[in-house]
Symmetry: C2
Subunit: 108 residues, 2 copies
Amino acid sequence: MKSEMTNQNPTMDHLFELYEGKFKAIADKKRLQIMNILTQNGSMCVCDIAPLMEMSQSKLSYHLKILLDANIIKKETKGTWSFYELNQDELNHLLSPELCCLFKPTCC
Amino acid sequence: MKSEMTNQNPTMDHLFELYEGKFKAIADKKRLQIMNILTQNGSMCVCDIAPLMEMSQSKLSYHLKILLDANIIKKETKGTWSFYELNQDELNHLLSPELCCLFKPTCC
DNA sequence: CTTATTAATCAATTTTTTTTGATTTTAATT
DNA sequence: AATTAAAATCAAAAAAAATTGATTAATAAG
């Protein structure tokens, strides 16, 4: 007999998994705060974010990695420093224009 | 001495908490799938969603409650039935127009 | 009144995520 | 070469979220 069609379309399934990952990355108070700090300051190294976040270096690295893996932020290494900045393109694809107030410097 | 100003603005803090909740609610494959099913079928009772999700009743109730608490879906009780539907307003405030393809019936 | 149906809730368990502190890696400085 | 600094990684512990199966509550139907 034929397949049951109770299963989700595999393409859709793949999309849901993709967005699960991205939303999971931004579904965190602290990470939203990091994003907001990057909004206001542009590209920043970890050592400059840390004091603003009042967060240990290892903890901050952990959260930055989650945002980076989800492509919410971008990273550039210069010497011993890692500079992070928001991936505006990604955010525009993901969030409503109204959330721009939080994550676009021009809005507030 | 004065306060340190290392702490976040309380208004912002409150906003981050609000969005943490909303993004957490949609940061799940299964819940995105539920939302997609509601997109395609409009208002549905739990007993009609369950077979499409291949999910136990108690598990489905759990996930619906999370979406409901985050105001992503709305609920209406008729007799013993609970009918759920998407809260389009909320989604429009939250998600990019491009994500409409997933959560607006007119788009796909 | 009794039985059946729908869906919410609960407690216990399992799984996932986050936190912590230490260690490692890489590069810059002396 | 030795020291310092920045940041990533790791393993263990703690915390949070999801799953399971059973129970409960509310309504409908016989």
